[in-house]
Symmetry: none
Subunit: 419 residues, 2 copies
């Protein structure tokens, strides 16, 4: 029997604290949006930690970052583990970072134990999972599986007016020691640890969720276009008020969609009003609608409902409406063998687990198109995520990393006697 | 019978074109904001025109500009006519200038006819009606009636960072020939010609509006505060969504307030969503509500309705609500005798007219607190104002000036046989 690699929980917690300091917000969260200076600083720190342990550092044209621990047979497709390091503008310290640093901890634990694996193991940090600065999200994993158009993305502008091409080039240049790699390659498996970002595990008192499916997501950008006019001198019958049309449409959709289907989600997270003057009826209101459901056909019927309601409201309010689909992600099913490997790892560790459907999309959803993939969820307090108050208990962080290590070992074919 | 003074329409149109050249924008509008170099140039031109006709030129400490045509009895309070010369940053050429130059045309027509009036007639250009550079607007007329705090205004900074006291001093010094006068004095009447800034006259096909009331205005700033959470993983029962609360409140108010009272106005012109991410349930939505009505008690009941609806929506959506009043301007009633004088003037000129309530506030609203006051509205194309596309047809400009002349003559007690 070989000596079993051990997760160093204190080291992992320290790493999470160190990365949380990059882009830290006063409220205890992080603002480390994709391709920003903060994102670059986090990538730099991970690369330095990798070099210090003798791991290889690689990046590709969309700035996906890979940390490689070479196996005996470099020609075998590696086992890939990891997540992302970018965050929402007022994000938490665990979304993405937990999975990336748990994966790095697995790599370090293998190194500590001096284990030589047949198959190489790689940690990945995918670029722009959040999509809050440059839309859509999951750019890195999309590009990796050939589902993204990098050339088109180059010229896209972020919400801060910057051009993606410029920010991407600066991000790549910030890691000169990283070896450039073509986008996309064969991997034997991908496993991603992530916080649940929902309340189910916590309420069930179960430390590990094994994700079998991912909800489909569609993003619509809707503009109501009316006519700017004086707030005081324009009687109701002469108004073409896009704000009135917007409020009516959203109010109806909130009453119709989610109450009718417990699996459905509808969210308006962003709204721009022009010209934005207190005493001027707006000329245009633009807002986003995020809809989710695990069944493709239901997702389509919800989208149809949104379009119909907006058209009806536009007609009632004598304004024009434009609806554009900005993002369309089909529901996903994870690989039965990987799901089974995670389940067996939990059994060996005597950790209770339950199977889940993810309400959030993740890079793993894209990678599952080209490699056997599954995810490990850990509970987060009150299910709160995309929020500076996001919190994961230390014991759950440790359990998640142990399950990832155990799963990784089984996927690279290393056998150990149970402790 | 004396010879009847005549409006010289060509001269008036030429004056309007001459003043529109001061601060002219490429789009055909004007940028002549209060106390700016352009504003000073317009005041200088008016003063030069006045001196050329032998009229007196006066200004006061807030830079209100008065052009006086002396009557037989200088001790009688004068009839005051006029408007303002400042504009919005992308304003039209008629808002303010039309009323000031129509009033000056009345003075010139009296001079042309060699009419000696018992009572003096004065043209006024009030300072900073627009309030776009230095807030609030109507500073000149407010100060004239003792409702403004000039000492406090001195230290206020404009949107361009300049200090009002400096700009005011430079403006006063730019007219050294103007005789300084204390602020506020007795006037026998005030009549202001202005564009309607709304669509009513044009759609009714009526050239003259006689303004009987000015709507009161209140501005509320409302914030719904919920909890940011993930758009995909947060089921309806766990959401505290301020956007859902906002949409429901605005939708209800749009259905309840204006349809129930044709005089009521309710406008949501500004909205800020935080953190403003497509896949995050917002933590806070802040928006403005502009409410207007000619009756103070109804205005109060509408405000109460807005507050009650927002509190109810906050409760339904499990979010908090904060409501702050940002602006409160009481409705104004114009003088019945002046309104009647304008009506009779229209009859003598065989000009059709209709009574109107002004949805916008004007300097006349403040002057009505100290002197018998009313306003004459002329139609503007498509009701468009505060816009470089603002346009008034030549025949409506001429009609407005004729009605102002006829009204002024009746107010100074001059009688003429109808032509």
């Amino acid at each position: 029997m070989k000596s079993h690699p051990q997760i160093n929980a204190q080291r992992l917690l320290q790493r999470i604290a160190d990365f949380a300091a990059i882009g830290a917000t006063s409220a205890g969260g992080v603002n480390r949006q994709a391709l920003s200076a903060e994102d670059r600083a986090a990538r730099r720190l991970l690369a330095e930690l990798a070099v210090a342990r003798g791991f290889g550092v690689h990046q590709d044209a969309i700035a996906n970052l890979f940390i490689r621990r070479e196996g005996r047979n470099p020609l075998l497709p590696p086992v890939l583990i990891g997540s992302h390091l970018d965050s929402q503008p007022t994000g938490g310290r665990f979304d993405g970072a937990l999975g990336t640093l748990s994966a790095f901890e697995v790599l370090e634990s293998l190194e500590d134990a001096g284990v030589r694996t047949e198959r190489s193991v790689e940690v990945v940090s995918w670029t722009n999972e959040e999509g809050s600065r440059f839309s859509p999200g999951c750019m890195g994993s999309m590009a990796f599986v050939g589902a993204g158009d990098i050339d088109r993305w180059q010229h896209m502008h972020g919400i801060d007016g910057t051009e993606l091409g410029d920010e991407l080039a600066a991000t790549l240049q910030a890691l000169p020691e990283a070896e450039m790699r073509p986008i996309g390659r064969s991997v034997s498996a991908f496993v991603e640890v992530h916080i649940e970002q929902g309340p189910v595990l916590e309420r069930a008192g179960v430390p590990i969720g094994i994700v079998t499916d991912v909800q489909g997501t569609r993003w619509l950008e809707i503009s109501f276009i009316g006519e700017a006019a004086h707030a005081g001198t324009t009687p109701l019958e002469f108004r073409r008020d896009p704000m009135a049309a917007t409020a009516a449409a959203i109010a109806h959709l909130q009453l119709d969609v989610m109450p009718a289907d417990p699996m459905a989600r509808l969210t308006v997270g962003r709204m721009i009003v022009e010209p934005s003057s207190v005493n001027v009826i707006p000329s245009r209101v633009t807002f986003t609608v995020d809809i989710r459901h695990p069944q493709e056909d239901v997702l389509s019927s919800i989208e149809a409902q949104v379009r119909a309601e907006c058209r009806a409201s536009a007609e009632r309010h004598m304004v024009d409406v434009r609806i554009e689909k900005r993002f369309d992600l089909a529901p996903g099913k994870f690989d039965v063998a990987i799901v089974d490997a995670i389940g067996k790892a939990c059994e060996r560790l005597c950790v209770s687990s339950m199977k889940l459907v993810s309400g959030a999309f993740h890079d793993a959803l894209f990678i599952s198109r080209v490699a056997p993939t599954a995810m490990i969820f850990v509970p987060c307090r009150d299910g709160i995520s995309h929020n500076e108050a996001e919190f994961v208990a230390a014991e759950n962080i440790e359990t998640g990393a142990k399950v990832l290590l155990e799963t990784t070992l089984s996927l690279i074919g290393e056998q150990y006697l149970p402790r």
